[in-house]
Symmetry: C2
Subunit: 217 residues, 2 copies
């Protein structure tokens, strides 16, 4: 990775002009490559071409930068899922497309995905360094709520037999997360005759939705 800056003009100078955005971008890249634990402020500053101290003009510290990345990532993820859901087709098709959007997001934005879902390294007491309430994931409830809402709005009549949409939402989310993380770790076997990530998710969603209605009906 070469030093890099963005913005209307590329002249180097005492003032960067777009440092906050550049740091977030650098963090996103490093997290994608090395995970949250492997990300350092020093590297991010070096990549952007700025002294490490400059970071503190824009963020309270390392943790604040990570939170910002996670928040932006979640916003982007939510937007993509909503967009996928909005398209044409049967409810099942639209829901399936949302699953694909989830996998695609995890693949295209591994930095965001890790920032959102990778466990923060916690202190021995389970609290984040620097105090604060015990480890409360910033957006997990929202992620789940998003999925449940999507299911509810996509299948407004519910499922036959009154199967709780939250059940299916959890099922699909767990499968998606499993596929995404195994794939990201390079641990999902691939090869001729083996299904792709998207094959796996599509078949899984189908089986679960059908299974729920079949058993209940």
């Amino acid at each position: 990775m070469r030093p890099w800056r963005s913005g209307p003009s590329d002249r180097r100078g005492y003032h960067h002009g777009n440092l906050k955005e550049a740091l977030i971008e650098a963090a996103r890249r490093f997290i994608a490559e090395r995970g949250i634990g492997g990300f350092t402020l020093v590297d991010a500053a070096r990549l952007v071409g700025v002294s490490p101290a400059a970071l503190y003009r824009h963020f309270r510290g390392r943790e604040a930068l990570l939170e910002e990345v996670a928040e932006r990532g979640f916003t982007e993820l939510a937007a993509r899922l909503a967009r996928a859901l909005r398209g044409p087709g049967t409810p099942l098709e639209r829901f399936t497309r949302m699953g694909e959007a989830y996998l695609t997001f995890a693949e295209e934005e591994p930095g965001y995905y890790a920032a959102i879902f990778e466990a923060r390294p916690a202190g021995p007491d389970g609290c984040p360094p620097g105090g604060g309430p015990p480890q409360q994931a910033p957006s997990d409830r929202d992620a789940f709520g998003l999925l449940v809402e999507a299911l509810r709005s996509t299948f407004p009549d519910g499922f036959s037999g009154g199967v709780d949409p939250r059940f299916i939402a959890l099922e699909v989310w767990a499968l998606s997360h499993g596929i995404a993380t195994l794939a990201a770790a390079g641990r999902l076997p691939t090869g001729p005759g083996l299904p792709t990530k998207h094959d796996l998710l599509r078949a899984g969603v189908l089986a679960m939705v059908h299974g729920a209605t079949a058993r209940a009906g």
Copy 2:
């Protein structure tokens, strides 16, 4: 955690007597609490009550200790899965029980589970520090092979329509891994009316096996 030692006698002395095992045990505990990235040799040595240098009598270094933990974890996981599979019942029951054993292992042995599956922090070049070939997971192929073999031996007649058992194996593995990691991160919503991990996996396995045979037959 208090300093801790095991072995036939508990007298403290110049020689620990069981240091290698004690260090592996300490590593397992710390990894469970803080993840692979949060594990340090210094902490492990302190917990065991030994100087950090003593570690090098038994391991080449930090990475070697982690590999040993992962290897033991995988052996234990394989043993549990095999044991679950060996019991009585229909093929589907036995296969389902194997899935439950997987989840139970991830819950009871989070240190082992993380050591096996958590991404090692890689250097910028994608190679483990200290050289060696690019990141080759120690046991992922084995884990997958194990699952496929289990499916093949549990359903010796295959699935109707000739569905590839590897497909179902991947599906179930991804779901199990997703459930296990979301649960370990405390991100799986729980509450009245919401399914447990085991509910989720059981229903998922059922849906997938049935779905495969139904669509194919």
